[in-house]
């Protein structure tokens, strides 16, 4: 059965400017949201191509296709691009599109700054990619760029990497300031904090995390810059510093960063599950408190990435227990999603499929995280493919699936057209199968001791690696289907209704406006003080 309601069309004025300059000069949250999303989509294929090189090299043991030096550059840039160029910009794009619509605001609070935040990104990644053509090659020290590999032993292009990270950070900070200001200051009258949609809540807290930790990353790369070029000794024990200091500063940023990449996903999945269960979300306020406590805890767990560097036993214990504590609010969320589906009248359109897969597969990632959190066990797992399996489970069928789900869920609202459901479901099943084919066997080779970030491996890992590579190629190809489906929707899609989904009634302000949403959604905010007008 179809949950899509027939369409009707309204005319609207105040269109966008014509021509390419529209995209350069725009201050419109929807334009900027689209820019972010397309940028992220392009980078997904760039970073994905790098992953294909990695998997081709690892298809068989022995040195196959690329040199070890180039392999290192691939691993590094794959990680950097996926984290900073795909997941984060995609969430910011979704925030741009949806937050003003969901809170009934005319636009983002600081529209010109919004445009700047976006246009810094192509500059930063243009620089990063251009280092491939420079003397010494692109950065090759891993996305975590540990000193002294990234300082004393780094290629000269590290300087460009450092400044690229600086402006990328500036973009994130400005973007977050904009989002947080929009949420705190631009809500429609009557929308109290505890009435905000969960996606908005998740972004409020994410933006706070970003403003808190991006400057710390800026500090870390600044220390690197000084060590490399100006003779300081932050990370050099010879001068009284400590390479481990780098890891502390980096992970003080890095762990909250991984939650930055998952909290908005929590918001998205909550919306999709409640829509296709035709029930309000179970435990709204516990969802809010869970997000908030995850965010707070994420500041005190960073050294679980460093169990093996030689911390005092008190440190090992503290970070072990604090990390395990995070599993509690995370569990609350998973149980809330399950309870929302429980006895709901479920339908399984593409967004719902991705959302359910998210819940199942993210939980696998969470559980392997819990295993890694056990300090003595982590001595075995650390720096093996088990860690790679863990974070790919939380990031690919986790963060990335939520983004894909969000695109399918809101695309009709953005474009006014429906995507092709059959293609969508095909995309889902291919992705679902291949993602598990790719990342599940990594658990096994990891537990058996296969180290990460090495272009070669021992014979006994050969079979699993071949399966992994096949899965990865399939996953890569399936995403072309996604691109095709989006383009098909934009150019040939059938018209969508204002409500789009049968279950979307009463599930937020975005479903009360036309599809496509008018260029300026709420020139005057809707008044929600009277509960009748809410839905």
């Amino acid at each position: 059965m179809s949950a899509v309601i027939e369409s009707h069309h309204d005319d609207h004025h105040h269109g966008p400017a014509k021509g390419f300059s529209r995209w350069l000069y725009t201050t419109n949250h929807k334009d900027i949201g689209s820019l972010y999303l397309w940028f992220s989509f392009i980078m997904l294929f760039v970073g994905g191509a790098m992953a294909m090189v990695i998997r081709a090299e690892l298809f068989e043991p022995g040195s196959q296709i690329v040199s070890p030096e180039f392999y290192n550059q691939m691993v590094t840039n794959h990680g950097l691009i996926m984290v900073f160029g795909v997941i984060m910009p995609a969430f910011v794009g979704l925030a741009n599109w949806m937050i003003p619509m969901q809170i009934g605001a005319p636009d983002m609070a600081l529209p010109r700054l919004n445009n700047l935040s976006f246009w810094i990104l192509p500059a930063a990644f243009g620089v990063l990619l251009s280092t491939f053509l420079m003397e010494g090659g692109a950065p090759n020290f891993g996305w975590t760029f540990y000193a002294p590999l990234s300082t004393e032993y780094a290629p000269p292009t590290v300087t460009f990497f450092i400044f690229a990270v600086h402006i990328m950070g500036a973009s994130s900070i400005m973007g977050s300031i904009n989002i947080i200001t929009t949420i705190l200051n631009m809500r429609a009258p009557g929308m109290t904090l505890m009435k905000m949609p969960l996606f908005v809540w998740s972004w409020l807290i994410t933006a706070y995390l970003l403003i808190a930790v991006m400057p710390v990353l800026a500090g870390a790369v600044t220390m690197m810059l000084m060590d490399i070029h100006f003779g300081t000794s932050f990370f050099s024990a010879a001068g009284g510093g400590d390479p481990v200091l780098f890891q502390h500063v980096f992970w003080f940023f890095g762990h909250p960063e991984v939650y930055i990449m998952i909290l908005p996903a929590f918001g998205i999945v909550s919306h999709i599950i409640e829509t296709f269960s035709r029930k309000p979300i179970f435990g709204y306020s516990s969802m809010v408190y869970a997000i908030a406590s995850i965010a707070l805890l994420s500041f005190v767990v960073w050294a679980h990435h460093m169990f093996t560097v030689g911390m005092p036993i008190a440190g090992e214990l503290f970070f072990m227990y604090s990390t395990m504590l995070i599993a509690i609010p995370t569990g609350v969320k998973v149980f809330n999603w399950l309870s929302t589906m429980f006895k709901g009248s479920l339908t399984f359109e593409t967004p719902m499929l991705f959302a359910i897969a998210f819940v199942a597969l993210f939980t696998i990632g969470g559980l392997s995280g819990l295993m890694l959190a056990i300090a003595p066990a982590d001595f075995q797992y650390h720096d093996t493919y088990f860690v790679v399996a863990h974070f790919h489970y939380v990031l690919v069928p986790g963060a990335l699936f939520s983004i894909v789900a969000a695109v399918y869920y809101w695309l009709p609202k953005w474009t006014g057209y429906m995507y092709d459901e059959v293609l969508g479901k095909t995309h889902f099943w291919l992705s679902f199968i291949s993602v598990n084919l790719t990342f599940f066997p990594m658990h096994f080779v990891g537990l058996a001791g296969m180290p990460r970030r090495i272009p070669d491996y021992a014979m006994q890992f050969a079979d699993y690696n071949m399966i992994v590579s096949v899965g990865a190629f399939l996953f890569g190809l399936s995403q072309l289907l996604f691109l095709f489906n989006v383009l098909k929707c934009v150019y040939y899609g059938k018209s969508a209704t204002a409500e789009v989904w049968e279950g979307a009634k009463g599930k937020g302000l975005e479903w009360t406006v036309d599809s496509p949403a008018p260029y300026h959604t709420f020139e005057t905010s809707p008044d929600l003080t009277n509960p009748q007008t809410n839905n």
Binding site: A109, A123, V127, T159, V213, M214, S233, G240, V249
Partner: protein, 300 residues
């Protein structure tokens, strides 16, 4: 669309794209300039310089535009609240930037240096440089050839000699200036423009004295104390922390100078003076950072 009650959303703007372009130039300019340090025939600093010119030019036009729009009455109260939020969160991000350096200093002093000296269960690190003794300020580094330690440090002297110690005067300047800028704001709110201008000039004078004294201190460090960036972790943390703070004082001083000039030309009213207020928050922030810095860098 430009009435007092509705939220002003500019139709489109060329300013951001120029700003982004200047940042692109900046990354290439700064990267090549730093990588080419010591090379004679490098022209890369021109890229860097042009990026700054473009950046400052864009900022000038950006702020002028905002002031113009505000004067035309296009900004509602809600929009002004957005500015307040924006500025507060920006200052929070700056706080976190300093936090990274405080974290580094704390880690080095509490863990790294004592461990290098053989303390605790990680004392094994002492094998690398046998005979190295931990102390703070760290005057003799583990590898004293590569990172020759300083022969004098900046720590607080005996109380009787406090007047010879520059940071004492610096602290006095900054703390007083936080007071004078508060007085300037209070005067402005009461409509006392003369008092406002007077206290602004006083604030600026104190700010500039701070910058001058800080430069004198750096000169002393390099010329007479052997305290340099390369003097091991003490020099490293000393210069980076006071340096970034000094940089922020300069930034604050520039902001306040512009606000003062605008004030002398008749800008700001009793109720509307967000530019000034934002500048003054920034100044208080710089002051608070200084006090923390004096405590952990100079005193304890």
């Amino acid at each position: 669309m430009s009435s007092e009650s509705s939220y002003y959303v500019p139709a489109s703007s060329k300013l951001p794209i120029f700003m982004a372009l200047s940042l692109l130039l900046f990354v290439y300019g700064a990267g090549y300039t730093i990588n080419d340090l010591g090379k004679e025939d490098s022209f890369s600093h021109w890229i860097l310089i042009s990026s700054f010119l473009l950046m400052w030019g864009t900022m000038f036009f950006w702020f002028s535009e905002v002031i113009k729009e505000n004067d035309k009455g296009m900004y509602s109260d809600q929009l002004n609240t957005s500015f307040v939020h924006g500025m507060s969160w920006f200052i929070f991000s700056e706080v976190m930037f300093f936090f990274a350096f405080f974290l580094a200093l704390g880690y080095v002093r509490i863990f790294a240096v004592p461990w290098l000296g053989g303390e605790g269960e990680k004392g094994i690190a002492n094998i690398l440089w046998p005979g190295f003794e931990a102390s703070w300020p760290l005057m003799e580094t583990p590898d004293n050839e590569r990172f020759p330690g300083a022969h004098h440090n900046m720590s607080i002297p005996a109380l009787s000699k406090i007047h010879t110690w520059l940071p004492f005067w610096n602290t006095l300047c900054l703390v007083t200036s936080s007071g004078t800028i508060a007085l300037a704001e209070a005067a402005l709110k009461k409509g006392n423009r003369k008092g406002f201008k007077l206290w602004m000039v006083a604030t600026l004078t104190l700010g500039y004295i701070f910058v001058v004294l800080q430069s004198v201190e750096y000169y002393e460090a390099y010329a007479h104390m052997g305290l340099t960036l390369g003097a091991g972790i003490y020099g490293t943390t000393f210069f980076l922390m006071t340096g970034f703070h000094g940089f922020h004082v300069c930034l604050g001083a520039i902001i306040l100078t512009i606000m003062t000039i605008r004030g002398f030309r008749g800008a700001f009213s009793e109720h509307e003076h967000f530019g000034l207020a934002a500048g003054s928050w920034y100044w208080h922030f710089v002051d608070v950072v200084w006090i923390l810095l004096v405590l952990v860098v100079y005193v304890f």
